[in-house]
């Protein structure tokens, strides 16, 4: 027996599977919604992931990068990513036409602890960066509405014309089983019908009971600091506040070392961490 027979290439965690771009919808700025389907996709394959998990997506010949799965596992197809074109890989993905071949590996990471969240009230706070996490989790909770208590969302946008999840928001604001606050940091658009100010300014206006509620914070480190602070001041346990970390990633499988924070690998132990865990990791808060 040669040693290589022990391994089948399909078990190779480094090998991207071929996927096609089914749709590429420009959102705002350089954000795009990519809809993808695996060439050899098993039926309902994407029911298997958890909200908050990520894939490693490759633009062939350019490179590979991590992306949160922006669709909910409650909707089996297509797999959706919200991609912000900021560099070579993301630009190539955002420029890809329908039917373009791309590579996908994953899903990787822990995702949200949905078993724990079931039965609790859920509050999601998001900015544009990080909105993929919010999108996946919120659709999951809405599609399993009876499994959750109250659902609330605060969406903070830099200005009214730059809401990445505008399409999803138009579906969310009309729902009676979800409290939605859309708030803008900017002063433009005097006819903006929604709220103004930072997400943290609206926390106390919500009818939430800290001990019954889990909060998912989706955004930048500054966003986590500001809102984490406000939530703890409101009586939230640090263990009930969930943040999602982004770090440079090369493997997604806990080996390459790029995503390490302290003793954790964001790709294995994260990207979702409690605020308590995150506060105790170096270089995070």
């Amino acid at each position: 027996m040669t040693v290589s027979e022990t391994f089948h290439p399909s078990m190779d965690p480094h090998l991207p599977r071929a996927a096609r771009v089914l749709g590429n919808v420009p959102l705002v700025e350089t954000y795009h919604l990519l809809q993808l389907s695996l060439e050899d996709e098993a039926p309902h394959e994407w029911v298997m992931h958890r909200p908050g998990q990520f894939v490693m997506a490759s633009a062939i010949g350019v490179g590979e990068a991590p992306f949160t799965i922006a669709s909910s596992p409650t909707r089996s197809r297509p797999l959706e990513l919200v991609v912000h074109a900021v560099g070579p890989v993301t630009q190539a993905l955002c420029a890809s036409k329908e039917n373009t071949l791309v590579g996908l590996r994953g899903p990787f990471g822990n995702g949200y602890p949905v078993e724990t969240l079931v039965g609790a009230d859920l509050l999601v706070l998001t900015q544009n960066p990080g909105s993929s996490f919010a999108r996946s989790l919120l659709w999951y909770a809405l599609d399993r509405r009876q499994s959750f208590g109250t659902l609330s969302l605060i969406y903070e946008t830099p200005d009214p014309s730059r809401v990445v999840l505008a399409r999803d928001l138009s579906a969310w604001v009309v729902r009676r089983d979800l409290t939605t606050v859309v708030t803008t940091l900017g002063n433009s658009a005097p006819d903006w019908p929604y709220s103004r100010g930072a997400a943290a300014d609206h926390l106390r206006k919500l009818d939430i009971v800290p001990k019954n509620t889990y909060v998912a914070l989706c955004g930048t480190a500054a966003f986590y600091r500001e809102n984490g602070h406000a939530l703890v001041a409101m009586g939230f346990s640090r263990g009930r506040i969930l943040i999602a970390l982004a770090r440079r990633m090369r493997c997604g499988t806990g080996v390459c070392g790029h995503c390490k924070v302290g003793s954790k690998n964001v790709c294995l132990d994260g990207p979702v961490f409690t605020y308590w865990d995150a506060s105790n990791l170096p270089e995070v808060m």
Partner: protein
């Protein structure tokens, strides 16, 4: 799931490194020791070549050794303290293809190693511990097929017979002796080697020249113990007891900034370290513009852009942060994750550093009263 479930019966490394996994209890005379006379060493190594390509430490310069093919003439230098590059070069090549790609057909896995068995002769206990440490990382949640193929093809003949030098601190790191991770382990006990057999492959190697091996007698046991006692006294007094806790306390020590002013960030320490495994991934496009290959190559957390993300955000923008990251990864975070440090005290980083930074001195300084 995009990634198929890893096989549940994946190889577990330990006593057996040759690929032949035989339940020891089924073997009539299991793991035993034998005696090999020093003058028979060359004849024995010659016979070992029948089991694969044999590599051993060869002198390449004054006090410089490399693991190189054992040829017909030049003897292996058993007196070598440490090779410039550690055995990891046989498991994680400095550059390795992960897959091939084409814009038309997507990705195809690169071949895993299917070559001959590689037999490494002369590995010291610290390097054997380093291999077992790498296994923890590469045989984790997502077993790494490229690493494992090479690992399964690797056989290890350990060796202990060289007195430590001032850069060694394996004793402090608990890696000066190995009880697993080898096929054979030879200990110099005077005129003979005590040969410990660690796997059925090692047993096969011994049996191929069974005429060279004698039984262990009382005098050999006593000679081994005497040598063991003597060896305990050959190491200096580097202390790493509760080092993770002391490092936690000294997180803000000025030592880290002082180190950063001396370190060039050249990455030599990581390249020569037997347990440094971080890698980068790059796509190389061929001249046709549509096909190419994805390779992984050694990386180093001391490089400025190691953790940098788009928009320039860098969790460790200063060299002080990066130096701390490397030390804390090895001595604190790896312990938290795997129960042991990822430093085996081999002293290679001390020898390789152009800034003459010594990990031993850093440990001593951090344990000192003014931190």
């Amino acid at each position: 799931m995009l990634v198929k479930r890893p096989p549940t019966d994946r190889p577990v490394f330990g006593q057996t490194t040759g690929g032949e996994h035989i339940n020891p209890s089924l073997q009539p005379d299991r793991a035993v020791s034998r005696i090999l006379r020093k003058k028979d060493m060359d004849a024995f190594l010659e016979s070992v070549k029948a089991f694969g390509s044999l590599y051993g430490p060869r002198q390449v310069g004054p006090n410089q050794y490399q693991l190189m093919p054992v040829g017909d003439v030049a003897p292996v230098s058993a007196e070598c303290r440490r090779t410039i590059l550690p055995p990891k070069k046989f498991l994680i090549p400095a550059r390795d293809d992960l897959c091939h790609f084409s814009a038309d057909t997507g990705y195809r896995a690169a071949e895993v190693y299917t070559g001959e068995r590689v037999i490494l002769f002369g590995l010291h206990a610290c390097d054997i511990h380093a291999l077992v440490t790498l296994d923890l990382v590469f045989n984790g949640k997502y077993p790494d097929p490229r690493y494992l193929a090479r690992r399964q093809a690797l056989a290890v003949i350990g060796f202990s017979g060289t007195a430590p030098d001032g850069n060694c601190f394996c004793h402090a790191m608990g890696t000066s002796h190995a009880d697993r991770g080898f096929d054979l382990f030879l200990t110099d006990i005077g005129d003979e080697y005590l040969v410990r057999i660690g796997s059925s492959l090692g047993d096969d190697m011994m049996r191929a020249r069974v005429d060279l091996f004698g039984q262990v007698e009382r005098e050999h046991i006593d000679a081994y113990k005497e040598r063991s006692d003597r060896r305990q006294t050959q190491f200096d007094d580097t202390v790493v007891e509760d080092l993770p806790q002391i490092l936690e306390l000294e997180h803000d020590s000025p030592i880290w900034r002082e180190l950063s002013e001396r370190c060039f960030g050249c990455g030599a320490c990581a390249a020569v370290c037997p347990t440094c495994y971080c890698y980068d991934v790059v796509d190389l496009v061929g001249t046709d513009g549509i096909t190419g290959r994805r390779v992984r190559q050694w990386d180093c957390c001391l490089f400025q852009n190691f953790a940098e993300m788009s928009g320039g955000f860098n969790p460790r923008p200063n060299r002080t942060d990066r130096i701390k990251h490397r030390y804390y990864h090895k001595q604190v975070h790896f312990v938290e994750r795997f129960g042991r440090p990822s430093c085996v005290g081999c002293g290679r980083c001390v020898e390789a550093c152009p800034a003459e930074i010594s990990l031993k001195d850093v440990i001593a300084a951090i344990r000192g009263r003014s931190g």
